[in-house]
């Protein structure tokens, strides 16, 4: 089975304290730790497990710049057979539809049986997989947390629905699936693995190489544009305890007891 996994390099929100830049139009990116988007990593692992069982190849693709090569190499160190960087100034400012349009053009250059994305990235969009499927007229399922390959170009899949219940379906290939975190246990990637793929040439594709009309991608085509960033205030905010640890512990226990939690 030929599997394409669309991945993205994102600031690791578990490792970073997000702050705004002085202009307020972006977050402060200088000190950020970047990594593979977590759900995308699960998607690559799932692809690798499928080809380990039934054969085939896994290609990882990203739309971005030179810096994003790092996540392609990381996923190739995990075992992905090919990495592809789609890069062009014209792509800058693309909205979800723009990115999906770029990926569609790439998919149509070749043949893939199955296309995977992570369920969402750090922007919480949860959109590229569903859009790409609609553009390609492929069946789609989101929040996928199990995949079984059936005979006759079909998969049996489950989606994670409310309460952690699993909604099982059968889906025809080729299709697009967005993968939920926790579907598998992504393998560890060591420094040795990274070194082995450090010098592998990563092919790149530009807008013209993909035959893309520049009016369909980038900022000019975007129907959706981010205007600014600001720090949210959802509620009144917690009363932060500023005592030393011992004082804070005493206070916590006092509060827990007062709220009927300790008897």
């Amino acid at each position: 089975m030929e599997i394409l996994v669309c991945v993205r390099r994102v600031p690791d929100t578990s490792e970073n304290e997000i702050e705004l830049n002085s202009a307020g139009n972006d977050i402060e990116r200088d000190e950020l730790v970047y990594s593979i988007n977590e759900a995308d990593n699960y998607a690559v692992e799932e692809a690798l497990q499928i080809v380990a069982k039934i054969g085939g190849n896994v290609t990882v693709v990203t739309v971005g710049g030179e810096d994003d090569e790092e996540v392609l190499r990381r996923e190739m160190a995990m075992g992905a057979h090919h990495g592809v960087l789609i890069t062009d100034e014209a792509f800058s400012g693309s909205d979800g539809r723009g990115i999906a349009t770029i990926l569609k053009a790439f998919v149509q250059q070749d043949h893939y049986d199955l296309i995977l994305t992570g369920v969402q990235a750090e922007d919480g969009g949860a959109q590229i997989g569903g859009m790409l499927a609609a553009l390609l007229d492929y069946p789609f399922a989101s929040l996928v947390n199990s995949i079984e390959v059936l005979e006759g170009r079909k998969l049996k899949i489950s989606r994670e629905i409310e309460g952690g219940n699993k909604e099982w379906s059968e889906i025809d290939l080729p299709c697009v699936l967005s993968i939920q975190t926790g579907i598998n246990e992504p393998r560890y990637v060591g420094m040795r693995g990274i070194r082995q793929v450090a010098s592998v040439l990563i092919p790149t594709f530009s807008a013209s190489q993909l035959g893309l009309d520049e009016n369909t991608v980038g900022l000019s085509a975007a129907k959706v544009t981010r205007l600014d960033y600001f720090i949210p205030s959802l509620g009144k905010g917690a009363e932060i305890l500023h005592g030393n640890r011992k004082e804070n512990i005493d206070k916590v226990l006092e509060l827990v007891a007062a709220k009927g939690g300790l008897k």
Binding site: G130, P139, K223, I249
Partner: protein, 328 residues
């Protein structure tokens, strides 16, 4: 101004709670617009849900089709495309079905798409300005959405207060005849209910809930010891289950359990909305997190900026000390 539609999920003849939140979102987009509820399904369940919605929507569109008896996003999309005006603004709840339906719907309608909308910040001639979050809720953004050729928006559950006022006229429009035959490349088989697990976290007054900040499987014991000393149970957020450090039955959130404790100790939990969605009944929420920017501090009652791996064992010792003294 384009017409606003709200796609309403329903089950067992009852419309989802989000029906009223979508009405509130529609009202916030344009207070003078009359939003239309649109429901798909089959049989008595669909009729019951449509009738009930007459109280909160001026108009309800019903699409009855046997193929839609179970909501399959691809079939629902095909049905909606047959009846929706092309410049419609379509609101869908940002939950598992909306995530399945909405992005593809926007492509097929050739309209703009914004997911997980928290608020509406303004309406212009050909655009709406919405608020959403990025980076796990650590930063918010204003997003401009061009609605000149329609828009599909998914609305975060709980973000809009359900509309109190009754705007309904109960006008029911049956659109079923416009649908025709429906077929999809994905076919529903069955739903398998999640396993119950060894501990029922919904039964406890106090939950010691751990998140990614617990860092590794061996550290889960720190939380178990504290819970044991307090007579509490340990629950967790999604990353802990994803990492296979705890069973799925311990997970609090929209894809896990809904809990109503008196006290909720959020330990190393960032506070993603999917997690908060599982905490009901307004418990006293104490958050301990070493990241002072963690969104959990915005919703907690009391916050402590500290490392849970050091804080929790000391807290456990103190609880044991007090309990020991009380026992004497």
């Amino acid at each position: 101004m384009a017409r606003i539609f709200a796609y309403i999920a329903h089950k067992g003849g009852i419309a989802a709670d989000s029906a009223f939140e979508l009405a509130a979102a529609a009202h916030k987009i344009n207070a003078t617009a009359s939003p239309t509820a649109i429901l798909t399904g089959w049989g008595a369940d669909l009729d019951a849900a449509c009738n009930a919605l007459g109280a909160s929507y001026p108009e309800v569109w019903k699409i009855a089709n046997e193929a839609l008896a179970y909501p399959n996003a691809e079939l629902v999309r095909k049905a909606l495309l047959k009846v929706l005006p092309s410049d419609s603004i379509v609101l869908v709840a940002h939950e598992h079905f909306g995530i399945d339906l909405a992005p593809g719907l926007s492509i097929k309608m050739n309209s703009a798409f914004v997911s997980d909308v928290l608020d509406i910040a303004g309406l212009e001639a050909a655009a709406i300005k919405v608020v959403r979050q990025e980076f796990g809720g650590q930063a918010s953004t204003h997003v401009r959405c061009d609605i000149s050729s329609g828009a599909v928006l998914t609305i975060r559950p709980g973000a809009f207060k359900a509309a109190e006022t009754s705007a309904g006229h109960g006008l029911l429009v049956d659109k079923s005849a416009e649908i025709g035959l429906l077929a999809a490349g994905r076919r529903y088989l069955e739903t398998v209910v999640a396993e119950a697990g060894d501990v029922d976290i919904t039964k406890y007054n106090v939950l010691v809930s751990i998140g990614r900040g617990i860092q590794e499987k061996d550290n889960v014991a720190i939380a178990l010891e504290l819970a044991d000393a307090m007579g509490a149970a340990v629950s967790c957020s999604r990353p802990v289950v994803d990492a296979k450090w705890m069973e799925k039955s311990r997970q609090v959130g929209s894809s896990g359990k809904t809990v109503k404790p008196k006290v909720y100790l959020a330990c190393g939990i960032s506070g993603a909305f999917q997690h908060l969605a599982g905490i009901k009944g307004s418990p006293f929420l104490i958050a301990i997190n070493k990241n002072p920017k963690a969104p959990i501090f915005q919703v907690a009652d009391v916050g402590i900026v500290d490392d849970i791996l050091e804080f929790l064992p000391e807290l456990t010792n103190k609880v044991r000390e007090l309990r020991g003294a009380a026992a004497k």
